[in-house]
Subunit: 229 residues, 2 copies
């Protein structure tokens, strides 16, 4: 990849990352390489395979040191591994510095926790995986139960497939709505969840009882319910 | 990972694979590790980092030789790289042999082309990424324009996020509908594509013209339109 003259959209990895939070966005943004200066690049402290929270290791294409001034920097989620990432000095320092010169900074999953650890979200509205909303609030941000929040400077997404929605929004912003639609068609983003939508799920008695039996989950749901939007 | 006593659900990688076709399924099936004998495992010919069709390398956890008799074997897609994979003797041989003893064989994206190359889909109905339907038909299978096809023995999915839908179906089959719903809730699979659904997209004049200008695409669409289902 020739970086010169390109506007790099960097995804910063750390051990235990949730690969869907990286791969969903990369897939949406893939088509930007045709006819635009934007290129995605996956970065980490070192060029080594990193464990994820699935049975797959992932390897970045560049080190933090090699991509110091990206056009945009995103931090994916990683479940409970992200809590450790908040204390990862190399990662947090990279994100703080890259965000300072970047046009856009953002996150998917619970990656907003790393943005908050870098001091970037004080008082800002941000989307995050629903199970981590309370923790984000404790770090000074204002968690919002939307699929994504785009305030121009920060583009934060909720968990899992919400990163896909947010990157379709970014594609429209950087290029065009028709480019976003084409990306969506290529990746067959026409979901037909066989068992309904999560709202319906939450309302169901069986799963509701299951979730209420898990303290961390129910506490987080209550945290989200406090948010007005 | 201790393989002994487990029922392994293997995803067979090759160079240039589409990571979403692997990572979407792995994310859905993640929760099976709690309270079931099922475990996902990512396999390839060698334990080396493989390029993907994004700016990320992925590394398998086991070699083909180490997982010779999985409970299920799936082949992800890889765009045009899958055409080369159809001639990858180590991959095709592995898939043929593993499928022979497996309870379930399947694919995501255009991975059905590799199943067909292994002689597994003759006369069978199978889902595939829409752009590759004609090629699958030429290989003796019957491409179907559904999100997934589950005939009990073969579970084939279409492209991109269709692999998520198919694995929710598999989770319900192996465990329960409520387990599938919980996986869906964790990964926030409640898509809200900001620019509508692909059906609406196809109808739009602007993008329709764009697609018609790309022969490979329009030809494949026509191929799909021939399918009655």
């Amino acid at each position: 990849m020739a970086d010169r003259g390109k506007r790099l959209i960097a995804f910063a990895l750390y051990p235990g990352v949730t690969p869907l939070d990286v791969v969903g966005p990369l897939t949406v943004l893939r088509d930007l390489r045709i006819g635009t200066p934007y290129r995605t690049v996956v970065v980490a402290e070192r060029l080594e395979a990193l464990p994820t929270d699935t049975n797959l290791h992932v390897t970045p294409a560049r080190t933090f040191a090699e991509v110091q001034a990206p056009f945009a920097v995103f931090v994916p989620g990683g479940g409970t591994n992200t809590i450790e990432a908040m204390a990862d000095r190399a990662l947090v320092t990279y994100v703080r510095r890259a965000a300072a010169s970047a046009t856009i900074a953002g996150s998917t999953g619970n990656g907003a926790l790393v943005l908050a650890a870098a001091g970037l979200l004080d008082g800002r509205r941000a989307a995050i995986h629903w199970a981590y909303a309370n923790l984000l609030r404790e770090r000074g941000a204002v968690p919002v139960a939307d699929r994504w929040v785009d305030d121009g400077r920060f583009l934060t997404a909720a968990g899992g497939t919400a990163g896909i929605d947010a990157m379709l929004q970014l594609t429209a912003r950087l290029r065009s709505v028709s480019a976003a639609r084409l990306a969506q068609l290529w990746m067959e983003y026409d979901p037909q969840p066989p068992f309904g939508r999560p709202e319906a799920i939450e309302a169901s008695g069986e799963l509701g009882a299951h979730l209420r039996a898990r303290p961390a989950l129910s506490a987080s749901r209550e945290g989200l319910d406090d948010v007005t939007h």
